[in-house]
C-alpha cells in the first residue's frame, strides 16, 4: 500500500501548528503584560505557594514595622516625659540638700516651699501627659482616666489608673511593653521615715514631695525628706533606663525586620518575577515560528493537481 495522507489531515496539521504557536505567544504576552513568570498556580505550583508564603511574611513584617513605629512613639514620649521628671527631681534633690542646711531661717524655707510646690505641680502635670491617641500615658490600661489626682496645696495624690501594661507585636512571637503604668513609675516602695517612726507603706513620689513642702512650710526639715527625694529620683531614673533599653530593642528589631524583608523581597522577585530579556527573546522566536507555520500553510494550500487539469 502506498504512503498517503488525506487532504483534511494536511489542512488540520498546518492549522493546529499555527494555533499551538498562537497559544505560546499568548502565554508569553501575558507574562510580559503582568511582569510575572508565575501568573497562575499551575505555571509553577511550588513557586506559587512560595510566593504566597513570602507575601504573607513580607506584609506581616511591614505590619511589625508599623507596630514598632507606634511603640517607639509611645516610648519616646515616655522617655521625654520621664526626662522632664528627672530634671525636676534633681532640682528637688538640690532643694532637699539645702533644706537641711542649719543656717537657713523660716523665711528662706518658705521661699523654697513655694518653689517645691511649683515643681510638684510640674511633676503632677507631667504624670498626666496624654499620648497622641488621647490616652493618659501613665494610667496603665485605664487610659482614659486621669492618672493622678491631687493638689500641690492639699496633697492627697491618688492614682486613678491600673497596673496593666500594654504590649504590641514587633516580630514573630516577639512582643514588647510600650507603656508603664503610673503606679510602677511614680511609687517609692519603701519610703524613708523620720527616726523613731514605724516603716511606711509604699508611697507615690508626689505625696513624698508634698510632705517635703509641708515640712518646709513648718520650717521642720527632716533628713528622711532628702532620702525620699533621692529614692524618687532613682526610681524615675530606673524607669527611664528601662524605657531607653526598650527603644534600643525596637531599633534593633526594626533593622532586623528590614533586613529580612529585603531578603524575602529578593527571593519573591526571583520566585515569580519575569526575566524580561529572556521573555522578549522567547517572544521573537515564537513569532518567527508562527510566521513560518503561516507561510507553510499558504504554500501547501496552493498545491493541487486540479490546478493542472
Amino acid at each position: 500500500m502506498r504512503i498517503r495522507t488525506s487532504t483534511m489531515a494536511m489542512q488540520d496539521q498546518s492549522v493546529s501548528a499555527m494555533l499551538a504557536q498562537q497559544v505560546r505567544i499568548a502565554n508569553t504576552q501575558e507574562q510580559l503584560a503582568t511582569g510575572l513568570k508565575v501568573v497562575r498556580p499551575s505555571d509553577n505550583p511550588a513557586a506559587a505557594v512560595r510566593s504566597l508564603i513570602l507575601d504573607e511574611s513580607v506584609e506581616l513584617k511591614d505590619q511589625y514595622q508599623v507596630n514598632i513605629g507606634m511603640a517607639r512613639g509611645r516610648l519616646a514620649q515616655e522617655d521625654v516625659v520621664l526626662g522632664g521628671v528627672v530634671d525636676v527631681m534633681q532640682r528637688l534633690h538640690e532643694l532637699g540638700v539645702r533644706a537641711l542646711n542649719g543656717s537657713l531661717n523660716a523665711k528662706d524655707r518658705q521661699s523654697m516651699e513655694s518653689e517645691t510646690r511649683e515643681l510638684l505641680n510640674e511633676i503632677s502635670s507631667l504624670s498626666n501627659t496624654k499620648t497622641s491617641t488621647g490616652e493618659y500615658l501613665f494610667a496603665g490600661l485605664n487610659s482614659k482616666t486621669v492618672a493622678f489626682t491631687g493638689s500641690p496645696v492639699t496633697g492627697g495624690y491618688v492614682y486613678g489608673g491600673d497596673s496593666g501594661r500594654r504590649s504590641t507585636a514587633i516580630g514573630e512571637g516577639y512582643t514588647i511593653n510600650d507603656n508603664d503604668p503610673g503606679d510602677a513609675v511614680f511609687t517609692v516602695a519603701a519610703p524613708a521615715v523620720p527616726v523613731g517612726f514605724p516603716p511606711a507603706a509604699p508611697e507615690n513620689i508626689m505625696n513624698l514631695v508634698f510632705q517635703f513642702a509641708e515640712h518646709l512650710a513648718a520650717n521642720q526639715p527632716d533628713s528622711s525628706d532628702l532620702a525620699n527625694l533621692q529614692l524618687s529620683l532613682e526610681q524615675v531614673s530606673a524607669r527611664r533606663t528601662s524605657v531607653g533599653a526598650r527603644l534600643v530593642a525596637l531599633d534593633q528589631q526594626e533593622e532586623l525586620n528590614a533586613k529580612l524583608t529585603t531578603d524575602e523581597k529578593a527571593l519573591l522577585s526571583k520566585t515569580r518575577d519575569l526575566d524580561y530579556t529572556e521573555a522578549i527573546s522567547r517572544l521573537n522566536l515564537e513569532t518567527t515560528a508562527l510566521e513560518a507555520a503561516q507561510q507553510a500553510y499558504s504554500k501547501v494550500q496552493k498545491l493541487s493537481l486540479f490546478n493542472y487539469l
Binding site: S6, M8, E56, T168, A169
Partner: protein
C-alpha cells in the same frame, strides 16, 4: 464475435463510469466528518469458452464499492477520543479555578492579611473608634472575599451542571441515533444481499465516536450487523435497535450532587450508574467536581468556619470598650445535611451533627447510611468507609464532627456537606457592625479598662496560630489549596496534551487510510477518464471494423 467486443467495451464504459462516480463522491466528501473514501473494486466478467480449446474474456464489472477503513483503528479512535475529551474537559475546568484561586487582588491571603493588620492597629490604639471601624471594614472585605471566591465556585458549579446536562442530552440523542442507524444498516445489508451501505456505516461510526466523546464506551458488533454499545463497566446503552435513556438528577439527595440514572428502553425502572460513568466529557466533568470543585469549595468553607469560630471564641474570651463580655463578629453557618428522599425515620431537623474539633475537619463530604448492623459513614473525598456498630451507631464522632442520629430509621441515609456552603454564607454579626466599641480588645475583666489591648493581641496571634486547621494556620490551609489546584491543573494539562497527541496520531492514521486526498482523486480521475476513453475508442474501432466488413460485402 463482433458483438462480444462491443459488450466488453460497454462493460468497461459502465465500470469506469462507476469509478468516476465513486471518485466524484470522494471529492464531494473531502470535508465530510467521518467519511471513509470509497473505491470501486473491479472484477472480470465470466469468460466465454470457445469450443473446447480456449476462453475469451468478456469484460469488466464493478464487483463492489468498498470503504477504506481499519476496524482496529476505529476502536482505538473511540477509546482515544474518550480519554482525550475527558482530560481536556477536566483540564479546562480545573484551569478555571486555577485562573483566580491565587489572583493577588481577589484571593483570600490579601484579605486575611489586611484584616489582621487592622487588628494590629487596634492593638496599637485600642481606644480609638476610628481604628475599630477600620477593623470592621477589613472584616467586611475579608467576608466578601470568602463570599466572592465561593460564588465564583458556585458559578463554575452551575456551569458544570449545565454542561453535564448537555452531555447527557447529547448522549441520549446519539444512542437513539445509533439504534436507528443499526436498524437502517441491518435493513440495507439485507436488501443489498450483503453489500455494505458504506455511507450509513460511516455515519454510525461517527455517531459512536461522538458518543465516545461524551463517555467511555465499548462497542460490540453482533452477527446481524448491529452495534451494541455499553458503558465501560458494561451497562448497555444501545442494544440492537433499542437505546437506553440517561437522566441527570438530584432526586435522591435534593440539592446535593447530580447523579446519573439509566432507564432501559421500554422500562420505567432506573439504575444509578453514577459511579460507572467514566471517560469522555461527562467523566471529565464528574472528575472535576469530585477532585477539584468540591474539595476546593469545602476547604474554603473549612477555613472560613474555623476562622469565624476561633476568632469569635477569642472575642468572647475578652471584653469590649464598655467592659462587657465580648460578642461574636462573624456568623458561623451551619453544616448542610440532606436527608434522602426515601428516609422513613423522624430525623430530618434539627442538625444531627455538630463540629467538635475545627482542626480535625477534613473538607470532605460524607454519606451516612443507617443500617441494621450499624451506621456506615462514607467519606466521599477519600472513599474511606467507617462503620459504627451498636450501641455506638447513633452517637459517635468522626473527623471532628459529632453525630447524633437519634430518630433515624434503618435504611435512612443522609448526605452531609460540613463546609460546602460556609464560605458563601459567612457574614458579619449585626452587634459589632452597629457598634465598633463592642469589639473585644480588652483581656482583663476588672472594670472597663479602655486601654487594655491584651485580647486584641491574642486575636492578632490567630493569624499565625499553627493549630487552627489540619494544615496549620488559615494561610497554610489556603496555600495548600492553591498548591493542590496548581499541581492538578499542571498535571492535567500535561496529561491532556499527551492524550491529545495520541488522539491526533490515531486520527492521522485513520486519515492515512480513510481520508480523501484530492491529488489522489485527481490522478484517479485522469486514470478513469483515460480508461473510459479507451473503452469508447474500442467501440469506435469495432464500428470501423464493421464498416469495412460491410463495405467489402457490398
Amino acid at each position: 464475435m463482433g458483438m462480444g467486443v462491443l459488450d466488453t467495451a460497454v462493460s468497461g464504459l459502465l465500470a469506469f463510469q462507476q469509478s468516476l462516480a465513486t471518485t466524484s463522491h470522494n471529492i464531494a466528501n473531502v470535508n465530510t466528518e467521518g467519511y471513509s473514501r470509497q473505491r470501486a473494486e473491479m472484477a472480470t466478467l465470466p469468460e466465454m469458452q470457445i469450443g473446447q480449446s480456449y476462453f475469451v474474456g468478456n469484460g469488466v464489472k464493478v464487483a463492489s464499492i468498498g470503504r477504506m477503513y481499519d476496524k482496529f483503528l476505529l476502536s482505538q479512535l473511540n477509546s482515544s477520543t474518550a480519554a482525550a475529551a475527558h482530560l481536556n474537559v477536566y483540564n479546562q475546568m480545573t484551569s478555571e479555578v486555577d485562573n483566580f484561586i491565587a489572583d493577588a487582588d481577589a484571593s483570600l491571603p490579601a484579605g486575611m492579611q489586611k484584616f489582621f493588620s487592622t487588628i494590629h492597629d487596634m492593638v496599637n490604639d485600642p481606644t480609638s473608634i476610628t481604628v475599630r471601624q477600620t477593623v470592621l471594614t477589613s472584616a467586611r472585605t475579608l467576608v466578601e472575599r470568602f463570599n466572592s471566591i465561593s460564588s465564583r465556585l458556585d458559578e463554575i458549579r452551575s456551569k458544570t451542571d449545565r454542561a453535564m446536562q448537555d452531555s447527557i442530552a447529547e448522549i441520549n440523542v446519539l444512542t437513539s441515533n445509533i439504534a436507528s442507524l443499526n436498524l437502517r444498516v441491518v435493513d440495507a445489508s439485507r436488501a443489498g444481499s450483503g453489500a455494505a451501505p458504506n455511507d450509513l456505516l460511516d455515519q454510525r461510526d461517527l455517531a459512536v465516536r461522538k458518543l465516545a466523546e461524551q463517555l467511555d464506551i465499548q462497542v460490540i458488533a453482533d452477527e446481524r450487523g448491529n452495534y451494541n454499545v455499553m458503558t465501560s463497566s458494561g451497562q448497555s446503552l444501545v442494544l440492537g435497535e433499542a437505546a437506553s435513556e440517561l437522566l441527570l438528577t438530584d432526586a435522591r439527595f435534593p440539592g446535593g450532587p447530580k447523579e446519573v440514572l439509566m432507564k432501559a428502553s421500554g422500562s420505567q425502572a432506573t439504575i444509578n450508574i453514577t459511579d460507572q460513568v467514566s471517560g469522555g466529557e461527562l467523566g471529565g466533568y464528574r472528575q472535576f467536581i469530585d477532585d477539584v470543585l468540591n474539595p476546593v469549595q469545602n476547604d474554603l468553607g473549612r477555613i472560613a468556619i474555623a476562622f469565624a469560630h476561633q476568632f469569635n471564641e477569642q472575642l468572647q474570651a475578652g471584653f469590649d470598650l464598655n467592659g462587657s463580655a465580648g460578642v461574636a463578629m462573624f456568623n458561623e453557618p451551619p453544616m448542610t445535611v440532606i436527608p434522602s428522599t426515601g428516609n422513613t425515620g423522624s430525623l430530618t431537623a434539627p442538625q444531627p451533627v455538630a463540629i467538635s474539633d475545627y482542626a480535625a475537619l477534613t473538607g470532605s463530604d460524607y454519606r451516612i447510611t443507617v443500617g441494621a448492623g450499624g451506621t456506615v459513614v462514607s467519606n466521599l473525598r477519600t472513599q474511606q468507609v467507617s462503620q459504627f456498630a451498636p450501641p455506638g451507631n447513633l452517637l459517635f464522632s468522626l473527623d471532628g464532627i459529632d453525630y447524633d442520629l437519634t430518630g433515624a430509621a434503618v435504611g435512612d441515609s443522609f448526605l452531609l456537606q460540613p463546609t460546602r456552603s460556609v464560605a458563601s454564607s459567612l457574614e458579619l454579626e449585626m452587634d459589632v457592625i452597629n457598634d465598633a466599641a463592642r469589639i473585644a480588645a480588652a483581656g482583663g475583666a476588672s472594670g472597663p479598662a479602655v486601654g487594655d489591648n491584651a485580647n486584641a493581641l491574642l486575636l492578632a496571634d490567630l493569624q499565625l496560630a499553627t493549630g487552627s486547621l489540619k494544615q496549620g494556620s488559615y494561610q497554610d490551609a489556603y496555600n495548600e489549596v492553591v498548591g493542590r489546584v496548581g499541581v492538578l491543573t499542571q498535571s492535567s494539562s500535561t496529561d491532556a496534551t499527551a492524550q491529545k497527541k495520541l488522539l491526533e496520531a490515531v486520527v492521522q492514521q485513520r486519515e492515512n487510510i480513510s481520508g480523501v486526498n484530492l491529488d489522489e482523486e485527481a490522478a484517479n480521475l485522469i486514470n478513469f477518464q483515460q480508461a473510459y476513453q479507451a473503452s469508447a475508442q474500442v467501440i469506435a474501432v469495432v464500428r470501423t471494423t464493421f464498416d469495412s466488413l460491410i463495405a467489402a460485402v457490398q
